[in-house]
Each structure stands twice: as C-alpha cells, then as structure tokens.
C-alpha cells in the first residue's frame, strides 16, 4: 500500500505552527473580553436554564476540604461567631455548613467513597413544600434558596430535607460580606453561588477550588442545555441522584457511587 504522506516538510510544519500561534493570539483576547463583559442581571431569571452540579466521586480525595473552605470564604461562613453555644462539640454540630465532606463505606466490600454533600437543588423540593411563610423557594433557574426577609426560623425545612443540607444561624453575626448577607434566626443553605449567577460568572466557588486543588471533581453547568459540558459528562459517566427513590429530580448528580 502506498504511503499517502511520504515526506514531512519541517519548514511547512513550522509555518503552520506559526500561523496557528498568531491566529490564537488574535482570537484569544476576543474570547477573554467576552468573559469580562459580564454584567449584573437586568432581566428576571427564566426557566430556560437549570443550574446543577455533577460530582465525580472517583476524583474526590479523602482529606481534601478545598470546596468546603472556598464555600466558607465566598459566603462569609468563615466569619461565623460562636455566640452563646456551649461545648466545642455542640458548636461543630451547629455551625452553618453549606457543603459537608461525607465518607461512605460499603461494609460488605470495604469500598470507600468521598463526596461533598450540599443542597441538591431538587425540582420538587420538600423544603419548599413545608415552608409556612414562602421563605423557602425555588428560583426559576432551579436554585433552591431561602428568602431571609421572610424566614421566621421555624426549621421545618431542615426537618424535611433528606440531605441534611440546611443550617440554622443560632447566634448574632458580625462582619458579613456585602455579597452574602446572613444573620441570626434564619435558615440557610447552598444557593449555587447565586451572587455569581446574577453577575454572569460561569462557575461556583467550590468548582473553582476543586480545579485549583487539581482534582476537577465538580462540574457546574446548565442541565437543560444539551451542548453544555455538564450534559456531555452526564451522558458519558454513569451517575445517579442520592435518594433517587424520593423522586425529587435533584440538580446535583453523583458519579461513582
């Protein structure tokens, strides 16, 4: 059989390489400018997108808590005051945590799985069903969150949530961040970095931290866009919802569990 590419011309290669380099240099600033052009949202959110996460537990590392810490910094959870809480054990149980690292072990096989657990942003959220004031609500783009202006701190939603995703703020807070108001007497949980969504950013704090830590175990994106990276990965990776028997259609999916 005849060889179709008999000789590789090194000069031609160099020229093509140069052309690609110049092309990239010309195009790249445009791409970056497009990202910078993100502006505060002017139109109400619509159901055209549904935000969600895919967590590849095979990439999630035991002992790493980069996502938890990043969530704390983003939402001011690292500024929490201990208040009147007594023992440190009690404080560990009570302090607000929007993401928790969970380790699962199959006792029959000994297989261990690590995963971050946060609000699963259900399509049919039980927390919204039980809320007596309408404070717990689902935004049109699928984010389940708490309107703290309406929350009376009854904590029904915490009882209803199958994922133990919500926290209650027991003590007075100080030094809050402008982007993340939070205070005593309200329930709170992961809101998929809603301030970033409204400013047109393309990721969440936990996703960024996981990438920086070199694991890339969390992918954020639009579950309704067939072309989005998260949808492509959902198609390829075997994944499931936690407690899928409850038929809540969660927005956070897990691979490798």
């Amino acid at each position: 059989m005849k060889d179709e590419n008999p000789v590789i011309d090194p000069e031609r290669r160099a020229f093509v390489g140069l052309a690609v380099g110049i092309g990239a240099a010309l195009v790249a600033p445009g791409v970056i400018l497009h990202q910078v052009a993100a502006a505060p949202r002017a139109e109400p959110v619509s159901g055209a997108v549904r935000w969600g996460l895919l967590i590849d537990t095979t990439k999630c590392v035991d002992g790493c808590s980069a996502c938890v810490e990043a969530c704390g910094r983003e939402n001011g959870l690292d500024l929490q005051g201990r208040g009147e809480t007594g023992s440190s054990d009690k404080w560990e149980r009570q302090k607000a945590a929007w993401v928790r690292k969970v380790k699962l072990q199959d006792n029959q096989t000994g297989r261990i799985v690590n995963l971050p657990m946060m609000c699963q942003h259900c399509e049919h959220p039980p927390c919204v069903d039980v809320c007596p004031t309408g404070a717990s609500f689902k935004r049109a783009d699928g984010i389940v969150m708490v309107d703290r202006h309406l929350c009376i701190g009854c904590r029904y939603c915490m009882m209803a949530c199958p994922y133990k995703a919500r926290s209650f703020i027991h003590g007075e807070q100080s030094g809050q961040l402008t982007r993340a108001p939070r205070g005593k007497g309200c329930v709170e949980s992961c809101d998929l970095c809603v301030q970033r969504r409204d400013q047109g950013e393309d990721s969440t704090a936990c996703v960024d931290a996981c990438v920086t830590a070199g694991h890339e175990a969390i992918v954020f994106g639009d579950l309704q866009d067939p072309a989005s990276p998260i949808r492509q990965m959902l198609k390829e990776l075997p994944n499931r919802q936690i407690r899928e028997d409850l038929a809540l259609n969660t927005g956070v999916r897990y691979a490798g569990v």
Partner: protein, 144 residues
C-alpha cells in the same frame, strides 16, 4: 408696644428656627456622602432627597423581592448602594458601620425611634464587594 414685642419674640424665633433647620439638615446630609463616591458627583440620590427621606424603605423593600426572587441586580435601589456612598471613613480610612447611632442610617433611625434591622444580616460597611470574581475572570481582566 413693648408688650406686643414681647409676644412676637417667640413667634419670630420659631420662624427663624424653621428657616434654618432645612439648611442644617442639608449640610448634615452632605457630610454623609463619601468623597469620591458615585453620590458625591450627583446633585441628588437615586431620587430627590425629600422623596428618599420618606420613601427609601418602600424602594428597598420592593427591590429586595425583585433581587432575591428574580435575580435582578441591575436596579438603582440597593442597600449595598446606600452603604457604598453614605458610610463614613475615619482618619485611618476605616469605615464606621452605617447603623451606628451617629451615622447616616443610625442617626435618623434613632431620632425617629424606628428599629433598624437591615444590618442584622446585611454588611454595614463595604466588605468584599458586591460580587466575587472567579479565577478565570480575574485572569481575563489582567490581560484584556
């Protein structure tokens, strides 16, 4: 005649006081605008000052519903905006919480005996900006 003058004096004093007070109030308000802030370059707030004094609570209450439930952040009435322009900085350039009894929000609310609980949750000083910037965008800004 002397009797009439004696009677007119309190009235005249009251009139003088009424004339002077709006001027004093205006001067006070002016002192509550941060130099170099957006407000410093404007003749009035997002609405005329008289309207802001009476209706600011209505404005931010409607705003909060639109922002929390619909995600609209591109509107003039924002509490973070109030803080940004009206918070005072001390000589070390450290901002004083705006709800302190001698500050822009706190002083008026103390005078009117109206409980101010916005700042139980909201930041009373500009803290960390209204948005966080993800690393990908930070790089983009460094190399425009």
């Amino acid at each position: 005649m002397a009797e009439a003058l004696r009677r007119a004096r309190p009235v005249a004093l009251a009139l003088l006081w009424m004339l002077a007070v709006p001027g004093l109030q205006a001067a006070e308000t002016k002192g509550h605008v941060v130099e170099g802030s957006r407000a410093a370059g404007l003749a009035e707030c997002v609405k005329p000052a008289a309207q802001m004094r009476r209706q600011h609570m209505e404005f931010i209450k409607h705003q909060r519903i639109v922002t929390v439930h619909e995600g609209v952040r591109d509107t003039p009435y924002s509490l973070a905006g109030c803080v940004e322009c009206h918070v005072r900085y001390d000589e070390r350039q450290i901002p004083t919480p705006i709800n302190h009894p001698d500050q822009f929000c706190g002083a008026c609310h103390a005078f009117a005996a109206v409980d101010l609980n916005c700042f139980d949750c909201h930041a009373a000083v500009p803290n960390g900006g209204q948005e966080s910037v993800s690393p990908s965008r930070r790089e983009g800004e460094a190399h425009p």
